[in-house]
């Protein structure tokens, strides 16, 4: 029992450290990529002993800056809620990563090891539940700030996030009807089949519409451009108006964590998770004589890397969108979510259900 507990704690620690570090790197990637798209050089000033390393030290300086700045706490009746709010958002966003299957199972010295903290039967629902709870950080933060602008900003943010949460969940139902499971590992395993021996039957192949809907709703859920009304740093006053120092940093960092979360969920449901095309448990099988034998450890590492590459690619696409499109107006945002995304998602569910029923998949 103690060994199991210890491995669980170690895995959880590894996932937590990995996500937090990746989130930190993303703050740098975001700056560099926006610079690239706007024909600038981007962050490159921070240096240690003259080494600039493409501006990578800006991650550290940002952290130090956030912690070192004076924290201003407004006069409010609800100081505890004000102080707690960023960490509610932070905690629940991170908790959702518990069910993400970063890798398949690997048997090491008789123990089943997998880079997944928990693998409940209702895995995907747990992720959605945690995402839903994370919204409270935004609502309560804006309300406890005792500032009308922050309150309005938080109501705008909440309305957007609960609206797009519905579309997000509805978009995921289509693929779930095909996989017939909510278990995250099982979802990935179901995507390991090949059509005609060459086309990997990933969710994106079976459910292209659901993939687009999920990605768009996911971008809105994480408050990304073109859906960044809740924050709109320089133009609109957002829910985080009264926050300063590391509490502001926590809100901002939560965004990066949620972006990784949406990319992980999309990868798991639509991009085959850790599946590598044509890679079976014992090596590559390209049909006929084309085969490459590989040991289980190599296969496991390849699959773990595949998950990472897919997540990075998705995040890069989301960033490209961010620096390409202008922002939605609030009424456009709402009608887009409720009158376009949601009906399409429902249509997708009905058509998928009918097809699954007729073909008896």
């Amino acid at each position: 029992m103690w060994i199991e507990l210890l491995t669980k704690v170690l895995i959880a620690g590894a996932v937590l450290t990995g996500i937090l570090s990746f989130g930190g790197v993303l703050t740098w990637v975001e700056r560099k990529q926006s610079a690239l798209m706007q024909d600038r050089i981007g962050a490159n000033r921070a240096s240690i002993l003259g080494f600039r390393l493409l501006g990578l030290f800006h991650i550290m300086t940002d952290g130090i800056k956030m912690f070192a700045k004076e924290e201003f706490i407004p006069r409010t009746d609800h100081r505890v809620l004000f102080l707690l709010a960023p960490f509610i958002a932070w905690l629940f966003s991170l908790a959702a990563f518990a069910v993400i299957p970063f890798s398949p199972e690997l048997t090491v010295a008789g123990y089943q090891v997998t880079l997944q903290v928990a693998n409940p039967e209702i895995g995907l629902l747990v992720a959605f539940a945690m995402m839903g709870m994370a919204i409270y950080g935004v609502v309560l933060g804006g309300w406890a700030s005792n500032n009308n602008y922050a309150l309005l900003g938080s109501m705008r943010a909440t309305a957007q996030m609960i609206s797009y949460e519905v579309a997000l969940a509805a978009a995921a139902v289509g693929p779930l009807l095909i996989y017939r499971t909510l278990n995250m590992q099982e979802i990935v395993i179901r995507q390991g089949q090949l059509y005609n021996g060459w086309l990997p039957l990933w969710g994106i192949v079976l459910q292209p519409l659901a993939f687009l809907l999920f990605l768009v709703a996911g971008a809105a859920e994480t408050k990304r451009v073109p859906f960044d009304l809740p924050e709109g740093e320089s133009e609109i006053i957002g829910f985080n108006l009264e926050y300063s120092s590391m509490r502001f940093g926590a809100f901002m960092f939560t965004d990066f964590i949620e972006k990784i979360l949406v990319a992980c969920l999309t990868t798991t449901i639509f991009l085959g998770g850790w599946q590598v095309p044509w890679l079976a448990d014992d090596g590559f099988r390209l049909g006929g004589a084309l085969a490459l034998e590989l040991g289980p450890m190599v296969v496991w590492l390849l699959r773990l890397a595949a998950f990472g590459i897919k997540v990075c690619a998705l995040i890069y696409v989301l960033m490209l969108v961010r620096w390409t499109l202008p922002r939605f107006r609030y009424d456009q945002l709402m009608s887009f979510g409720w009158k376009f995304l949601l009906p399409l998602a429902f249509l997708n569910i009905i058509v998928t259900a009918a097809v699954v029923l007729v073909l008896n998949l």
């Binding site: 009746d77 609800h78 809620l81 409940p120 039967e121 209702i122 629902l125 747990v126 959605f128 539940a129 839903g132 709870m133 919204i135 409270y136 609502v139 309560l140 309300w143 309150l151 938080s154 109501m155 909440t158 309305a159 609960i162 949460e165 909510l182």
Partner: protein
């Protein structure tokens, strides 16, 4: 062992939260305690192997419905002490009857449970998962489910009628 620690912690938390939800003066603070109560109940469902119910409890109650509570309270801009003052004598009477009925229900539930020692036995594999709950809902309880669907539809239509009234 771990289950017992979790059970006692979250059972206590749910009761304390429920109590605070009723006694707090500020409506938003009340709802925050109610969220905490609903979340603790979901953990207790997990301990009782009702996994699907636990997930739905968090998504629907803690996530969606209470979010709407918070939203409506903020919309209406309710200030401290504006709710919870029942001046109407008739309403007070109805409340008293409801409270007595709930007490009666508690009494019979506790009496019917008998002496419990330790945790109940483990549920069978698959119990409380999405598939098992779905099969029950769409076979044995299909009529109540459909009735509930009609009720929700009526509520949605009603909401649309109320919302559309002022514009036209």
């Amino acid at each position: 062992m771990a289950e017992q620690i979790f059970f006692y912690f979250f059972a206590a938390l749910s009761i304390v939260s429920a109590f605070l939800a009723v006694t707090r003066k500020n409506p938003v603070v009340s709802v925050v305690w109610l969220i905490s109560c609903m979340f603790s109940l979901a953990v207790i469902y997990v301990i009782l192997s009702a996994f699907f119910l636990a997930a739905v409890q968090v998504i629907v109650y803690a996530g969606a419905i209470l979010m709407l509570f918070v939203f409506v309270i903020m919309m209406l801009n309710l200030k401290t002490g504006m709710v919870g003052q029942l001046r109407n004598l008739g309403l007070k009477f109805v409340g008293l009857i409801a409270a007595l009925l709930i007490l009666r229900q508690f009494y019979s539930a506790i009496k019917g449970a008998g002496a419990m020692t330790g945790l109940p036995p483990r549920a069978a594999a698959g119990f409380g998962e999405a598939a098992a709950v779905g099969k029950l809902l769409y076979s044995q309880y299909i009529y109540p489910l459909e009735l509930m669907a009609v009720l929700l539809l009526v509520a949605i239509v009603g909401a649309l009628v109320l919302a559309g009234k002022e514009q036209s």
